[in-house]
Symmetry: none
Subunit: 238 residues, 2 copies
DNA sequence: TGTATGTATATGTATATACATTATTGGTCG
DNA sequence: CGACCAATAATGTATATACATATACATACA
């Protein structure tokens, strides 16, 4: 069957070593020659594997010295809105949430289109209002592919946010954000306790794990109460 | 001197071609063999250059077909609003802009606070409306530290956007975005040709170069006409 | 006419080899 | 003892070559 190319195997070997803490951040991994011998491949093949990982920021190399595991630093832009519970608590405020809806359903046409799945596919849907000091700050309307996350409905989302749970279950490989400004529908007005003229930021977020779409979430914030902040520090070169 | 390695030269050649629009998004670039011949190097050297660019998401390859320029939105989070002129043109639409204000002034209290400078510091202020097919899509209200960018007022911003100019003059090291939803003031309503009930996304952006704050810009988009899109791909492959 | 097959093209992976560059280390000589 | 130099170790770049794989296109055959 699909025998992965050898340089991929070597990448996996190194990544495993990092994950298992065999190779620790800042620590040295074997030299190209050692790995070449271990795997019985040419040095160039090992070089390819390591080059890839360097470009992915997993490793750092110093000529004459060796190859070292990067000090991880997560780097995720828009991480600020990743865990709203944490963020609220960091402000020293009280976090709580109200679960409005949590059940299995079949993908409607619009949901199916957004998620790129056939209409009628089983999905889990959760609607949650997040509160800061008992004041609503975010409405989370989420759809999750049922087959990808079987245990979703059994979670206690007052303890851990859906996002937290999903991140733990399926390591996220890619995130898309589409930000728009909207006026709240009647239902949203009620849930967020705002009036019809309060502009809202709506963040539509799709997350992929291992290149499969896992979840589509629409996060609505009253514009007057909540601001998105992201700082990007550019790494590179010229 | 520092003769760059040849594969770097080839990377630059391709990147230039993309920047100059010689190679367009979706378009094909020369094959490995052609480039190898042009540069009088082995195919493997070209391969290395192209592999790098593929990993940087600049190119896509299909075996048997060729190598193509990605149409992917330049990765950099919120890059979408980096060069609005380019973005509009890439949609195949007509870009134009109207310069509402362009002059030197002294930092007011609120501006000074935003920028962390003493009140009264000389700053340049520009107010520009960006149009797509003659329809206003963004109002740019910008303050620039005068001493850092002396030539600012002399620029012809109908040719190059302020952001473009600033990026060229002082390489940007860090960007902060704060996104909020607002309802437009009367003046904004007029400039963007929208009514009082159109919610707007307002992006407040501060940019640093070499750890010195260079510019503060407030970008207002009608929420119904303009959406911010950002895709974040977390490296880790596996 | 439609299908199968082959061929040219282009990328994907792997190897052996060579030499350059950078940092460490140890040793020699003044 | 210290300064310089050589050897060594490790990565960085470049090449020629080989074979594998995927696609498109043309050609031959039923």
């Amino acid at each position: 069957m699909s025998n992965k190319p050898r340089y991929q195997q070597i990448k996996s070997f190194i990544l495993d070593g990092i994950k298992q803490q065999t190779y620790r951040p800042g620590g040295k991994i074997p030299t190209e020659n050692e790995l070449a011998q271990q795997f019985a491949v040419s040095r160039m093949t090992v070089n390819k594997a390591i080059r890839d990982l360097v470009q992915d920021n997993m490793l750092v190399r110093y000529p004459g010295l060796g190859t070292f595991v990067s000090d991880a630093k997560a780097e995720s832009p828009l991480a600020d809105i990743k865990n709203i519970a944490e963020e609220v608590r960091q402000r020293g405020h009280d976090y709580s949430c109200r679960i409005v809806k949590l059940r299995e359903t079949a993908a409607s046409e619009s949901v199916a289109m957004q998620m790129g799945i056939p209409i009628g596919t089983p999905v889990y849907r959760s609607v949650i209002v997040h509160l800061e000091n008992a004041l609503p700050i975010q409405l989370e309307n989420r759809y999750v592919i049922a087959s990808s996350v079987p245990g979703y409905l059994e979670q206690d989302f007052t303890q851990h946010t859906p996002n937290e749970y999903l991140s733990r279950m399926c390591p996220i490989s890619s995130i898309e954000h589409i930000v728009e400004a909207v006026l709240p529908s009647e239902q949203v007005q009620e849930l967020l306790d705002i009036d019809a003229n309060t502009p809202c930021i709506q963040v539509n977020r799709r997350t992929w794990s291992d290149n499969r779409l896992i979840s589509f979430a629409s996060l609505t914030h009253p514009g007057t109460r909540y601001k998105l902040r992201s700082i990007t520090t550019l790494s590179s070169s010229h």
